[in-house]
């Protein structure tokens, strides 16, 4: 599928989508509530068949948070980047996609650990790198830790 067709497919599921082409991929920004439906559609639909989630990134912007999903189809060879925008920066929540791609289970735990984004329906949402009693979420931009972060 070329990018135009992909756009149409995405629009048919999530009409309020914004598109952007950067970094060699088609970037799709959607509200977080739409994510699971879109992901499931892209995974299951015969024309798209995005079966390989190769990168899952959390991002902290001043007003909102974003979870980025890099998808690729091993049969069709096309790629897409979904950016799910979470408006509530203080208590971010989003649906898990670990039921669609198994690898997301670990990656979502990592994002939860470092950004504090809660993935609803995740089978085992715990901190993965840090200790269970760690305060705060280190990769957030407003995280301060005077002991461990040395400013050069």
């Amino acid at each position: 599928m070329d990018q135009e067709q992909l756009k149409e497919t995405v629009l048919s599921v999530a009409p309020e989508t914004e598109f952007e082409e950067t970094g060699g991929f088609l970037n799709v920004t959607i509200p977080s509530a739409r994510l699971h439906d879109l992901a499931l559609h892209l995974r299951e639909s015969e024309d798209t068949l995005f079966d390989y989630l190769f990168c899952l990134t959390g991002m902290d912007w001043p007003e909102y948070m974003i979870v980025v999903y890099h998808l690729k189809s091993t049969t069709h060879g096309h790629s897409i980047v979904i950016k799910a925008k979470i408006e509530n920066r203080e208590k971010p929540e989003i649906d898990t996609v670990s039921d669609i791609w198994r690898t997301a289970e670990f990656h979502e735990r990592e994002v939860f650990d470092l950004f504090g984004i809660v993935f609803r329906n995740h089978p085992d949402l715990r901190r993965i790198f840090l200790e269970d009693d760690w305060m705060g979420y280190p990769l957030r931009k407003d995280y301060v830790d005077e002991v461990n972060i040395i400013e050069l």
Binding site: F54, D60, H70, W101, R102, F106, I128, F129, P138, L139
Partner: protein, 377 residues
């Protein structure tokens, strides 16, 4: 799990408990500080729960403060066995942002050193794999051959492991005059020694018993878990970045993507051995054809990436390594994400080890070729 067995004499149910074992963080076969919480029933594994973070250094956070030239040396310390490829990924991502075209010489040298790194990583893996199986001698044989590659690195790049030879915009220095001679000597040497690897392990009946049918990962699962690299290719998941998205000089060389269908530990082993042959062939094709030219493109002293997003993936010895840079136009990235192959490969461990025995777990872990700093970052 806790099943109820009936005492055959008294007829009363026996109570049994789950047997929980901490494998690691100090354990000879976790190769670093990986901690696995095993749930056992006798020798049989019911659940493997990795507990990570013992060597988490928050490299992604550090990158948000560093300049692009400084970021490169941090990637050495993630997957230290494919440090050159990691460096290359960051350099390529930055060059993509700067829209720099590399001189041919840089591309070829980067490819040769990448393949040498892959070879050295696979040699170490082979040695360690034998050791995990109990054949400790292989460890030294693998290291003997690896030492020659490390010497090449030391002479050209200045360090043995954490080379930091790539810089955004080219290479740190030109290759050493001895580079070609040494590399050719190594290729000739290793072509003789690689059959010995087969003789010692591949055909061995005990080795086949230990690996065949152990830790089977189907193609669907490999894709779903994002298991890449030789581990994924052994399941039939064609994912070689060098083939699908060629970078550096990979489009100029002929090589086969080592694939297998079985998806068991033996297939993963064979794929890696096959990859060593392919790497040797790639090096042979390039080593005499290093074009003349600059070893570096012109860059500004302070590199500032234009606002935007850049994703670059390379094939390391462990799989697909991705660098995702989000730049706001400054001299350091707004956010930088490393997609490390080990992390995704580890996520499949529980699935693969279910129902296997303790001895099998060691084999599965070893054939996944985990490098812990790569997982923890």
């Amino acid at each position: 799990m806790a099943e109820t067995h009936i005492n055959t004499i008294s007829g009363k149910p026996l109570e049994s408990q789950e047997y929980l074992i901490n494998m690691g963080p100090q354990h000879p076969s976790t190769h670093g500080v990986l901690r696995l919480l095993l749930t056992l029933d006798g020798e049989i594994i019911h659940k493997v729960e990795p507990h990570l973070g013992y060597i988490h250094r928050s490299i992604e956070k550090m990158c948000e403060k560093d300049s692009y030239t400084q970021i490169v040396h941090l990637t050495d310390r993630m997957d230290y066995l494919s440090s050159h490829m990691n460096n290359e990924a960051v350099s390529l991502a930055v060059e993509q942002g700067l829209e720099l075209e590399m001189p041919e010489r840089v591309k070829v040298i980067r490819t040769i050193i990448s393949e040498l790194t892959r070879l050295s990583s696979h040699q170490l893996w082979w040695g360690v794999f034998g050791m995990d199986l109990g054949a400790i001698t292989t460890f030294l044989y693998g290291f003997r051959d690896r030492e020659m590659i490390i010497d090449i690195f030391e002479e050209t790049c200045g360090a043995r492991l954490t080379m930091n030879y790539n810089v955004p915009g080219g290479l740190m220095f030109d290759i050493h005059p001895n580079f070609q001679k040494r590399t050719k000597a190594f290729v000739a040497h290793f072509k003789q020694k690689l059959p010995e690897y087969d003789q010692l392990l591949t055909g061995n009946v005990i080795f086949e018993l230990r690996t065949k049918g152990v830790g089977i990962l189907s193609k669907e699962d490999a894709i779903s878990y994002g298991v890449t690299g030789p581990s994924g290719r052994a399941s039939g998941f064609s994912n070689d970045v060098r083939k699908h998205n060629p970078y550096s000089a990979y489009s100029q060389v002929e090589f086969k993507e080592a694939l297998s269908e079985e998806g068991d530990s033996y297939a993963r082993y064979k794929v890696r051995i096959q990859e060593m042959w392919e790497s040797l062939s790639i090096i042979e094709q390039l080593i005499d054809n290093i074009p003349e030219g600059d070893y570096k493109a012109k860059t500004k002293a302070v590199i500032k990436l234009p606002k935007g997003e850049y994703y670059q993936k390379v094939e390391t010895a462990r799989g697909e390594f991705g660098v995702y840079i989000i730049s706001e136009g400054g001299k350091s990235p707004y956010r930088l994400k490393f997609r490390s192959p080990g992390f995704s490969n580890l996520s499949a461990l529980d699935h693969m080890a279910k129902g296997a025995k303790i001895g099998d777990l060691v084999v599965i872990m070893s054939t996944l070729d985990l490098v812990i700093p790569d997982i923890d970052r």
